[in-house]
Amino acid sequence: MNQMLILLVEDNPDDVELTIRGFKKNNFSNEIVIARDGQEALDFLYGTGDFEGRDSTRQPTLVLLDINLPRIGGLEVLRRMRADDRTRRVPVVLLTSSKEDSDIKAGYDLGANSYVRKPVDFVQFTEAVRQLNLYWLLLNEPVPSIG
């Protein structure tokens, strides 16, 4: 079994730093790829742009996707992932900073698997990430690689 790969799409460097710290605190040694906006995320997923030549058959085991992103928004990234056979089955957890019903609803409509509200209390956030990882990375069978 390949090492698990997590794609974190997040534009706020603080949140990136704290999330990675959260993973480390929970002793996850999985590979984490950071994309700082939607375009970068899509380039990574499909081996385009800065990620030209990446083997796009190897898809992340989990995508943590912030909704509010520069350039291409999180919901748009999700839509494109679900429209592409390579990423159709990749589990996506939305990260939101609001309780806006419309975002959550739109996310589920586009095929999000779950969502996490980023709390102000970071302990809560770390706990949420831990549980997510546990569920999606350890308990759930990862999506078989294509090819």
Partner: protein, 718 residues
């Protein structure tokens, strides 16, 4: 052409008279002709006789002369001769006269006479000669043949004459016979003709008599049936002759006047039929007199009463008409009258009903018209005014469609057709209506089919809805403005939403960083920080977390105000009970008595109402924290006729002085270290209650607990 019997008779008898005249004239002519013919025959015979007489005399004279000669003068012969010659001249003259009408015969007669004279002359000379014994003369005469040649000639001529006369006789006899035959034929023809005419006249007369008998019988029968009819007529019938005297009355007339016909007959009608004007008591003119004067049919003036013979009085109605014979001459007057008491009452009832309906149609502020075949036959005063007419007459007869604006006239026509096709009523419709002067107004028409005398029509009600239209227009404008405002509001809401979103996202992110990195410091550099530093970091974290809570509460409030209501049936009791159960579960150390009145149901948005109860019950739970025997109630109370719900606790309570601050955002009556809270909760639920058309208020005192009341009305307040 059919000739009348009289004419036939006149023609027949005139024919007979004419024929008689003709017959008489022709008989007369015939008789005259025969008489004439007869005379001619006699004349012929006379001529013949005279010719022979002359011949005989001449012969006699010859014989005598010869005898005288032979006897040489015997006297006897001389006297014979004298006898023979006496009157011969007259005979000759007569003969000459007789044939004067026939020239050829006259010629012959002249010759004949000449011959006779010549001979007589000879014989005279012979006689003379004998007497004188003149031998020479005698010899000469004898030598000349004596009278013999002339005699022979005379005899021939006599034969000729008589033959001619005989011929004439035959002709005349024939003509006589022919006249007789003609006469006979004429008689026969006349006989036949007269008999024919007489037969024809007889037949005609027979027929006429038969017809007259039949007519007489019919008259008798009709007279009988007239009597029966008159007797059975419900009206009184009285007839008079031209002098105004009563000739007949039927039983009703007898009963109404009180006069039996036996007594009334021959009396003046004014005596039997006494009428007065009911109101003036003046004697009224009996129409009989008027009919006799004018020859026209006359009706009776209203309010006439008939006074019976016994003095009692009855209102009557009557009419009189002349009776005319076949020639059109007035030969009497017939008066028909009846009692009108019952009729009068019916008339009065009708008038009362008419008045009622007239009031209904004329006093109604609605325009009312009746149209027949699309034209006005009735217009009430309201419609007269509505259509700008002065009187009903300005409208009667005009097509109703003329009063509808051409734009919608076809619709009006279609509606009329709909009614004509059998629709009973047609639904109201708004038209632009035209007044007589061409100006227009908005009207609404409703119509019900109303057929009269087999002609299609309708009763139409017309309202002037200009004012309503104007009001509608105003409302429409207001609505438009409202709509615009709602749109503005909506865009403001959208902006607010965007703002909330960014607040939520952008304000929370730095907080998260502050909290996260503070935690990282505390955890990763624990050994390097003293107690105070750690305490400070802890304060930083507490403050950022509280700010996070405030932001969330604020966003929640804005969401609650913006969210569209989803109205449904909500069981408040059930929700309250669930919330209390959750609170008890979450805080198992607390002992709180909860009293929830079951099955309080309302119409409303379940999620928002749950939010209200959650807030109020949490508050109650929170503020009874330090109360022994904590108690929380949820129940309904009657308040000014409406139902209010209330949540009461026996907790910390509040000072009523600050009651008005309770529902303002971020206003708190307790310190955070006493009771935590954002100060947003009550502000939020007040918005929810208001959106349900309700009110929320509180009652309480410090240390005595608090009671929150709210009412709901499902209609959403703007």
């Amino acid at each position: 052409m059919e000739l009348s019997v009289q004419k036939k008779l006149v023609v027949g008898f005139t024919g007979i008279a004419l024929i008689n005249t003709v017959v008489f004239l022709s008989m007369y002519a015939n008789t005259r002709q025969r008489t004439h013919a007869n005379a001619l025959v006699a004349h012929t015979l006379d001529v013949q006789a005279r010719v022979l007489d002359v011949l005989a005399r001449t012969t006699e004279a010859q014989t005598s002369a010869r005898g005288f000669l032979l006897t040489k003068g015997e006297e006897k012969y001389a006297s014979d001769y004298a006898k023979a010659t006496i009157g011969i001249e007259e005979a000759l003259t007569r003969l000459h006269q007789l044939v004067s009408d026939n020239p050829p015969q006259q010629q012959r007669v002249k010759e004949y006479i000449t011959l006779a004279r010549d001979q007589l002359n000879i014989y005279q000379r012979v006689i003379e000669a004998v007497k004188t014994s003149d031998r020479d003369t005698l010899a000469g005469i004898i030598a000349a043949g004596g009278g013999e040649p002339a005699m022979a000639e005379m005899r021939n001529l006599a034969r000729e004459l008589n033959a001619e006369e005989g011929k004439l006789l035959v002709e005349r006899q024939d003509s006589f016979v022919a006249a007789g035959r003609r006469s006979l034929l004429l008689m026969l023809a006349v006989y036949i003709l007269i008999h024919g005419i007489l037969l024809g006249l007889m037949i005609t007369l027979h027929r006429e008599l038969k017809r007259r008998f039949a007519a007489e019988k019919a008259v008798r029968a009709s007279e009988e049936s007239l009597s029966v009819t008159l007797d059975s007529i419900g009206d009184g019938v009285l007839a008079t002759d031209t002098s105004g005297r009563v000739t007949r009355m039927n039983p009703v007339a007898e009963q109404l006047t009180g006069w039996p016909i036996a007594e009334a007959a021959g009396r003046l009608v004014s005596e039997v039929f006494r009428i007065v004007n009911e109101q003036t008591r003046e004697p009224a003119e009996i129409p009989v007199e008027c009919v006799l004067r004018t020859g026209a049919v006359v009706g009776l003036a209203n309010h006439t009463a008939l006074i019976r013979r016994d003095g009692s009085e009855n209102p009557i109605a009557d009419s009189a008409a002349p009776i005319r014979n076949v020639d059109g001459q007035t030969i009497g007057v017939v008066l028909v009258f009846r009692e009108v008491g019952a009729e009068r009452r019916a008339q009065q009832a009708l008038e009362a009903s008419e008045t009622l309906f007239r009031a209904a149609t004329e006093l109604t502020p609605h325009g009312l018209l009746i149209q027949r075949e699309g034209k006005f036959v009735y217009a009430n005063p309201s419609i007269v005014t509505l259509l700008g007419a002065r009187t009903q007459d300005d409208l009667i007869g005009k097509p109703v469609l003329d009063f509808i604006d051409p734009e919608t006239r076809e619709l009006g026509r279609a509606r009329i057709l709909q009614l004509d096709a059998g629709a009973k009523t047609i639904p109201p419709m708004q038209h632009k209506c035209l007044r007589l002067d061409g100006s227009s107004f908005w009207g609404e028409t409703t119509a019900s089919a109303y057929e009269q005398d087999g002609k299609a029509g309708a009763v139409v009600v017309l309202h002037d809805i200009s004012a309503q239209k104007e009001a509608d227009e105003k409302i429409r404008k207001l609505n438009e403005e409202l709509h615009d405002r709602a749109r503005d509001l909506e865009s403001v809401n959208k902006e607010l939403e965007a703002f909330s979103y960014s607040v939520s996202h952008d304000l929370r992110a730095p907080l998260r960083a502050i909290d996260g990195f503070s935690l990282a410091l505390m955890e990763d550099y624990h050994g390097q920080l003293d107690i105070t530093a750690q305490n400070y970091l802890q304060r930083v974290r507490t403050a950022t977390q509280r700010m996070g809570v405030l932001i969330d509460a604020m966003l929640n409030m804005s969401r609650m105000s913006r969210r569209a209501l989803t109205i449904g049936k909500v069981n408040l009791s059930e929700i309250a009970q669930n919330i209390l159960n959750e609170l008890a579960e979450y805080d198992p150390n607390r002992k709180v008595t909860c009293d929830v009145v079951p099955n309080l149901e309302v119409e409303g948005d379940p999620e928002l109402l749950r939010n209200v109860l959650q807030n109020l019950l949490q508050n109650a739970w929170k503020f009874t924290r330090n109360t022994e025997d904590a108690r929380i109630e949820f129940k309904d109370v009657r308040n000014n006729g409406t139902t209010a719900f209330c949540i009461r606790d026996n907790g910390a309570g509040f000072d009523m002085k600050y009651a008005d601050k309770l529902f303002s955002p971020f206003q708190r009556l307790h310190r955070v270290d006493e009771f935590e809270g954002t100060g947003i909760g009550l502000a939020t639920i007040q918005r929810i209650v208001r959106r349900h058309g309700g009110k929320i208020w509180a009652d309480g005192a410090v240390g005595k607990g608090a009671t929150f009341y709210f009412t709901l009305n499902t209609t959403e307040a703007a």
